[in-house]
Each structure stands twice: as structure tokens, then as C-alpha cells.
């Protein structure tokens, strides 16, 4: 830690430790950690353990403790965190196994922790790189540019990526699917159904206000269907149209019932 290269001094774990120290209880959420390796590194630091000689039993216990706290706060602990917990337990149990006495003396038995340590070391480098990016973006946010001026649109080059293309295409397909679904829903009332419906209403209610009937229509398409239905029913059935005053409401009245 002595020779920290110039500017990349940002340390997420230190920050986190300070935040934790500031608050009394363990208000930790899964979102506070970028992943299981992040949490594991954090635990190792908190316990001031040597990464090259991890006291696996203690660290596993602490890791599980954190997972428990998270479980209480978050509805579901992400699967990746649980996978890591399982791996830790596996390593722990491997380490409890007695050394194979048949193994050659000179050949030091493979440390069950080795793979995990390698992963942690590799991961920590990326984590440091993330800290560097964080610092860089902070510096960049302190730099300002001249506001945009009008550009002319004749140039050939295009400011878009294939991802934009796909996104737009997806949104378009989704939008069209919605529209088509709505159209289908609307068209569900066919002329035949409309006539049947209208007939039932007239025979049930004896008198039907056309204005009210038309007002019930939910779309232009339905309204047209309704209108045709009225024309059709007047033409084929014993139904009478009456109007009390010019431009007033028109009442549909069944005449067949009267005749019987």
C-alpha cells in the first residue's frame, strides 16, 4: 500500500467501511456490493485477514453473517452471492480433511483456497481499475465545454449504433403489437353480433333510444357497425323508428310484440 501510484487512490472498500462505521447498525443491502467477490474482499479487509492466507472458517462465518443481514433487508439475496457462500463452505470442508498421507512429500498438496485467491486478486485489479474510472469521471465532471451550436444536416455520417437500431426496432414491434391487439379487440363486435345485441335490447326494453345506443359505442368502427345494424334491423324486422321532434332523439320500438 506504500507505493500507491499517483492519482488512483479511490478505495471503495475504505469508503464503505467508513460509512458503516458511521452508522450503528449493519444497514447493508445487496446493492452496496458489486457482487459476491466484492463482499468477500470487504469481509477479508474488515477482518484484517491476509488474502494469501485466508482464515477460511472465520471469513466464511462472517460472509454468511452478512448474507443473513442482507436477507433480512432485501427480499431475495441474489443467487450469485449464495453460489459464493456454497463455494466457501466447500473450501472450508476441504481444509478440514486430513492431508492425504500417500501424497508425495515434495509435492505440496494443492491449497483448496488457491483458485479463490487467484480470482480475488484478479478481481481486485478490475475493482481498482473501476476506482480509477470513477476518479477520471469525477475529474471530467469538473470540465465544461462550450454549449452546442446549430449544425447543418447535410453531412453523411450518422450518430447511431447498432444497439440503437435494435432498440428502436424492438420498441416499434412492441408498439405495433399493442396497436394490432387493440384493433382486434375493437373488431370483436361483428355486424352479426351487433344486430343480435340490438335485437335483444329492443325486445327486452321495448323502447330503445338510438342516441343512447350510439353513445355506448367505444370506437368509430363500432359506431359504424351499430349504424348499419340499425338500418339492417329496420329493414328486416318489424321495428319502428319514431322521432318526437325534428333533430330529437330517435326511438326504436318493436312492433311485432304489439301484433301478437
Amino acid at each position: 500500500m506504500s507505493e500507491t501510484p499517483e492519482q488512483f487512490t479511490f478505495d471503495f472498500h475504505k469508503e464503505k467501511a467508513e460509512i458503516l462505521r458511521a452508522s450503528d447498525d449493519l444497514q447493508i443491502k445487496i446493492g452496496d456490493f458489486a457482487g459476491p467477490l466484492d463482499l468477500l474482499l470487504f469481509v477479508i479487509r474488515q477482518e484484517q485477514a491476509n488474502i494469501f492466507d485466508i482464515p477460511i472458517a472465520r471469513i466464511t462465518e462472517k460472509y454468511l453473517e452478512y448474507i443473513q443481514v442482507m436477507k433480512k433487508l432485501d427480499i431475495a439475496v441474489a443467487a450469485d452471492f449464495l453460489v459464493m457462500a456454497a463455494q466457501l463452505i466447500e473450501i472450508k470442508s476441504k481444509m478440514l480433511l486430513p492431508r492425504d498421507p500417500l501424497a508425495a512429500d515434495d509435492e505440496e498438496a494443492e491449497d483448496p483456497r488457491q483458485e479463490l485467491v487467484d480470482r480475488l486478486l484478479e478481481y481486485e485489479k478490475f475493482k481498482t481499475a473501476a476506482g480509477m474510472l470513477y476518479e477520471r469521471s469525477t475529474i471530467e465532471q469538473a470540465v465544461f465545454h462550450r454549449g452546442p451550436i446549430e449544425t447543418d444536416g447535410e453531412s453523411a455520417e450518422v450518430d447511431a449504433t447498432v444497439f440503437d437500431l435494435l432498440t428502436v426496432f424492438q420498441q416499434m414491434i412492441a408498439r405495433r403489437a399493442d396497436e394490432i391487439k387493440m384493433e382486434i379487440e375493437r373488431e370483436e363486435i361483428s355486424l352479426a353480433d351487433m344486430i343480435k345485441n340490438l335485437k335483444r335490447r329492443i325486445f327486452e326494453e321495448k323502447e330503445l333510444s338510438l342516441m343512447r345506443f350510439f353513445e355506448e359505442m367505444r370506437s368509430k368502427q363500432e359506431l359504424v357497425t351499430a349504424f348499419i345494424a340499425v338500418l339492417e334491423i329496420v329493414r328486416t324486422e318489424a321495428v319502428r323508428l319514431t322521432q318526437k321532434q325534428t333533430f330529437g332523439d330517435v326511438i326504436l320500438r318493436s312492433v311485432t310484440t304489439d301484433a301478437h
Binding site: 465544461f144 465545454h145 462550450r146 454549449g147 449544425t151 447543418d152 444536416g153 447535410e154 453531412s155 453523411a156 455520417e157 450518422v158 450518430d159 447511431a160 449504433t161 447498432v162 444497439f163 440503437d164 437500431l165 435494435l166 428502436v168 426496432f169 424492438q170 416499434m172 414491434i173 408498439r175 405495433r176 396497436e179
Partner: protein, 185 residues
Amino acid sequence: MSEAVAQQPTRTPAELVALVEALIFVADEPVTSKVLAEVLDEDKGAIAAAVEQLQSEYEARDSGLQIREIAGGWQIATRTEFHEEVRKFLKTRPSAKLSLASLETLAVIAYKQPVTVPEILEIRGVQSATSIKTLLDKRLIVAKGRKEAVGRPIQYGTSKEFLIQFGLKDLNDLPSFEDFEDLVQ
């Protein structure tokens, strides 16, 4: 308004000039001395002196830029003598954003090619004539023969230019829905 003398920052005159320059630069319209004085918590006399200093510096070093007084405020602008070069330069600027309509049309053509205008209409639900013209002008799409259907409509597809601009080796490189399935949950 800014009588808070206690808070008066200790700046050298040179620092104030530099600050004034930075603020005039980032502003999207001419900045008045009054605004500068308030933001920097200086009095208007100091601001006026700084702007004057800045102006004469720009003059003295024959800068390509000038500090202009416009509509009662200060602004950085290119020197008028350079208008020809500036205009020529602006014409070469890329970064022309495609409108959403054009981007949509291009997406349909890219994923459904070869495709006719009525087919594009069918998918987008709106007329796409203007967008198709834009895309043809930008050489992102090309006509690819006619469809053996009523009216024998022209079919469109993407061009080689399209591949170049979108950094694709060939059309198989286009991302598919499956590629992003996990991402778009």
C-alpha cells in the same frame, strides 16, 4: 446583493480574468457583468476590469477568437475574418443525428431486407417516404430490385456504407433479439 464581504474570495486579478473567461465560455448566451459579479461575488468594477483585460489579451495575441459585447452581455466568438473557413469546417462536421423516424425505418430495412415501402408502412404503421429519402441521400440504403407483386414495388436493403458506419463485418453481425434477451429482461 453580494455584500457578504466576509466571504469575499481572495483571488489575484489574473485568476479573476481566467474565471471570467471560463464563465463566458460555458454560457450559452451573452453574460452580463452583473451576473458575473453575482456568481463570483465580486463587485462590478472588478468584473469590468477583468473583461477589459481579457479583451485586450485576445486582441494582443491575435487570437482566432474574440470577446464581443452582445445584447449587453459578453460572449466568445470566432473572429469575423475567418467566417469562410468556419463555414467550410462546419459543413464537414459529422454527428448528424438521425431522426427517430429515420432510425426506425433503417431498423426495419436492416432487419427485414429486402423490403418494400408498403411493407415498411405495415410494420411502422406510418408513411416512411421522407425517411427513405433521407436514408438514400445518406447512402445507408440502396434499391435492391423489384418485388414480383402487384405494382412491382422497389425493394430496399442496407448498403455497404451502412456496414461501415455501424461497424459491422456483414449483416450476420447485426445483433439479434436473442443477443439482448438477458439485457432487456
